[in-house]
Every structure is written in structure tokens, then in C-alpha cells.
């Protein structure tokens, strides 16, 4: 795992909740993360930055990227060109 960077955060799954921390599983690598910035429970998908949980992600984690593509595709390429000022 890299050191601290501005925005580097990794998604993982909470497998054990302790008093002020949680064990988070990153596809096999287990790391203890502080939980004072979010309330977590076992099974939560979380985003960990610099050893702390900074976000609990929604349970129904949709494939957001696919959804974005579908939405963008609603506009045709020609329409895009027109909007871009051509």
C-alpha cells in the first residue's frame, strides 16, 4: 500500500469492529483503520485514507461508471459536437 497522498483512498470491507477501530479487508490484505470519522458495522464497504475510514459506501454499490456511460450515451455524438461550439 502506498504512503500518504492527497486523495489516495482504498475501498475495502469491514470484517471486525473494535472500540475505536475496525479491521478492513482489502481483497486479502487486512488492515486496522480508525473509525472516529464514520460509524461502521461488519460487512460495510468503506473507503480508507491514511489509516482512517473516511466514507461508508452505499450498500447497493451500483456500477457507477456504467451508469454514467448510459446517461452520457443518451446524448448523441452529433449533439455533443453542437454543444461544444462546432
Amino acid at each position: 500500500m502506498k504512503g500518504m497522498c492527497m486523495c489516495v483512498a482504498y475501498p475495502g470491507t469491514v470484517i471486525e469492529v473494535k472500540n475505536h477501530s475496525a479491521i478492513v479487508d482489502f481483497t486479502g490484505t487486512k488492515v486496522e483503520a480508525l473509525t472516529g470519522l464514520e460509524d461502521v458495522k461488519k460487512g460495510d464497504r468503506v473507503l480508507v485514507h491514511a489509516g482512517c475510514v473516511i466514507r461508508v459506501m452505499p450498500e447497493e454499490e451500483a456500477d457507477e461508471t456504467e451508469e454514467i456511460f448510459r446517461e452520457l450515451a443518451a446524448l448523441t455524438v452529433e449533439d455533443m459536437k453542437e454543444r461544444s461550439g462546432r
Binding site: E38, H49, T65
Partner: protein
């Protein structure tokens, strides 16, 4: 043809008005390089890196102070990593370590608590650099230290916040170096909320896209920014992580321990209200962060112009010659989020 192919085709074939987009965050810079995104764009779409690598924007006075503290045999300096190799006016923390200073690298603030609890004879000083993503983590560290009555932990802070430096960057544009859109820093927004950029977008008529860090997410955001050129709006394509209001608990924690201050940025000088410093009631935890403004980086390094998008890394005469990741002159070549580092390792030329 699926929708992603359409996006890629559009970005490759685009021959509308030239657009120049800034990715604010160093993690976006790294992802853009590793995914080869510049080669997927038309010549009329240019990406420039902004001031979003915390190591890169740290002034030499801060590094010098860390080195001074490290050379005190009663202190241990603890850092997250990249910072160790950044030179101050004379030395880096790595140099100090080579001379016998106790400098340690950690991945989590909880590690400094364990170290300090185990050895009360030393003072453990965390090199607390970062933006709004990381400031709540330092606040939590202090709260844990208070709760566990660990008094020998201090911070040397160089904490920066986004809104005022973005205004500074916008104010520094020229006709030759315009900015037509911003890829907003996704995890700063996870903490502060996508709404943090609404006022700036409206007052500047520049669009902001809150983006994830995967290649396709970034391409989708670039596509949207091209479409939204000239419109002062904020859109969020990273909704599984970023909400309009952000993580309120983290914001409250940050506000409890820190207050806004003027902050000095490498190459940009002091920017009003662009930093955070410990509140008066917690100053006993501060290792001397106030007044670290001198920025003495010299030797021909042009990190300052790179950080504001005025030149590309290849525009610096040292790039790839006397300045490489193995022997970096400037902070932008040290950090894995730095634009020079990423241009160098990916062979990027535009």
C-alpha cells in the same frame, strides 16, 4: 458501438474550440499517466496538473523545520512517506536520518500513538501535511491521543485547503494559459462535499466535475467538461463516494481542532485563508508550525510554474536531465503524485 466507445471516439476526434482542463488532485495526475489518457485525446484537449499534491506544494521552511526538529535527539519525526526525500534549503529528512536522526515512516496515525505510548521519554512529531481529506485524520489522531492520555505526540502542520488556492489559480490565468474546466479532487469532496466548489464555479463560469480515479471515470469527466465549457456548474460523477454535503462528522472533527490560517504554497506565496492550524486550546500539541513561509527552492527547478499549469514538466530545463525520480531536484519529481514524476515514468510528452 457502446457508449464508452462513443466517448472515446468523441474525445479522439474532437476538433471544436481548444480546451485546457486542470486536474487538481495528484492522484488524478497519477491515474491519467498510468492509463495513458493524454494519448487518447485530440490535440484540442489539453490536461494540466494543478496544486493538489501536498508534498509538492510544501515550502522549504517547513522541511527545514522538520530537519531541525529531527536533529534534536529527544525527538522522533513520523511521516507518511514521500515527504522524506523532499529537500529543504539544504537537507531532506532522509539526509537527517542518514546523520542519525530518528525518522520513521508509517501508513496510519494509530502507529504513532503506539510508539508514543511505549516510550514516554521521547516526543513523537507527526509531519502533518495534506488537504481536507487528511486534516480530519490528524484531528482524530489528536482526539485519540487525548483520550488515551498520550501527551508526547505533537504535529508540525502544513495543512492546506482547496477553495482559496483554486481561486488563486483562476486569478492567475492568462490568455495563453486559460483553464476551461476542473477535474475536482474526488476524496477532498468525499469529506467536504461536492457543493464546496459551487460558488467558485458560479463566479468564474468554469465547470467542475467531481470524478473517481479509474481511467473510464476520468474519460467520462473530461467528456463532460468539454460539453460544459463556459458553464459555471458542478457535476458529480462519483456519487457512490461523494455527496453534496460530504462527511459532516469529519468536518466537525476538523473544525474542533483546526482553524483557518494564511498558508504559504511552493511557487505561489502566501494565500489568505488557504490553510489550517491548530486552535489556540490545542497549541501545546503544535511543534512550531506558525510562520514557516520561506520558499527557498532554487537551482533552476521550475516546480512553481508546473504547479500552476504555466508550463508542462517537459518545459523545465532540468526535467529528465539532472532531475529524475532517482535524483529529484524538485518536489514534483519526488512525489508519486507529482506531475514531473508521472510525466517521467509514463514517458508523457503532452
Amino acid at each position: 458501438m457502446n457508449s464508452f466507445d462513443e466517448i472515446k471516439n468523441f474525445l479522439r476526434e474532437y476538433d471544436g474550440p481548444k480546451v485546457r482542463l486542470m486536474e487538481v488532485c495528484g492522484t488524478h495526475t497519477a491515474s491519467i499517466a498510468s492509463n495513458g489518457i493524454p494519448s487518447m485525446l485530440s490535440d484540442n484537449i489539453r490536461l494540466i496538473s494543478g496544486p493538489g499534491c501536498p508534498v509538492c506544494v510544501t515550502v522549504t521552511a517547513y522541511i527545514d523545520k522538520l530537519v531541525e526538529l529531527a536533529m534534536n535527539p529527544d525527538n522522533t519525526i513520523v511521516s507518511f512517506g514521500d515527504l522524506l526525500r523532499v529537500r529543504g534549503s539544504a537537507k531532506s529528512l532522509s539526509d537527517a536520518k542518514a546523520e542519525g536522526a530518528d525518522v520513521r515512516m508509517v501508513y496510519s496515525p494509530s502507529q504513532i500513538l503506539e510508539m508514543a505510548a511505549a516510550d514516554k521519554t521521547r516526543t513523537y512529531i507527526f509531519a502533518a501535511v495534506g488537504f481536507e481529506t487528511t486534516a480530519p485524520v490528524y484531528a482524530l489522531l489528536l482526539e485519540e491521543a487525548e483520550r488515551r492520555n498520550i501527551s508526547n505526540v505533537k504535529l508540525l502542520t502544513s495543512l492546506k485547503t482547496m477553495p482559496e488556492v483554486i481561486r488563486w489559480v483562476i486569478g492567475s490565468r492568462t490568455d495563453e494559459t486559460p483553464i476551461d474546466g476542473f477535474l475536482a479532487p474526488g476524496h477532498v469532496c468525499a469529506v467536504m462535499g461536492a457543493d464546496m466548489f459551487r460558488d467558485i464555479a458560479a463566479e468564474s463560469s468554469i465547470p467542475f466535475m467531481v470524478s473517481g480515479f479509474e481511467g473510464p471515470q476520468i474519460l467520462a469527466s473530461i467528456y463532460e467538461l468539454v460539453k460544459l465549457r463556459g458553464k459555471g456548474v458542478v457535476e458529480n460523477l462519483y456519487q457512490t463516494v461523494v455527496t453534496p454535503e460530504g462527511n459532516l462528522k469529519a468536518q466537525k472533527m476538523m473544525d474542533r481542532y483546526f482553524e483557518p490560517c494564511d498558508a504559504s504554497w511552493r511557487g505561489m506565496g502566501k494565500i489568505t485563508g488557504s490553510g489550517l492550524i491548530l486552535r489556540a486550546q490545542y497549541r501545546a500539541r503544535d511543534a512550531g508550525s506558525d510562520g514557516l513561509d520561506v520558499d527557498a527552492a532554487g537551482n533552476g527547478c521550475r516546480c512553481a510554474s508546473v504547479l500552476t499549469g504555466a508550463i508542462s514538466p517537459t518545459g523545465c530545463p532540468l526535467f529528465g536531465k539532472t532531475c529524475t525520480p532517482r535524483d529529484p531536484h524538485g518536489a514534483c519529481m519526488v512525489s508519486q503524485e507529482g506531475s514531473c514524476y508521472n510525466w517521467f515514468i509514463s514517458g508523457r510528452t503532452r
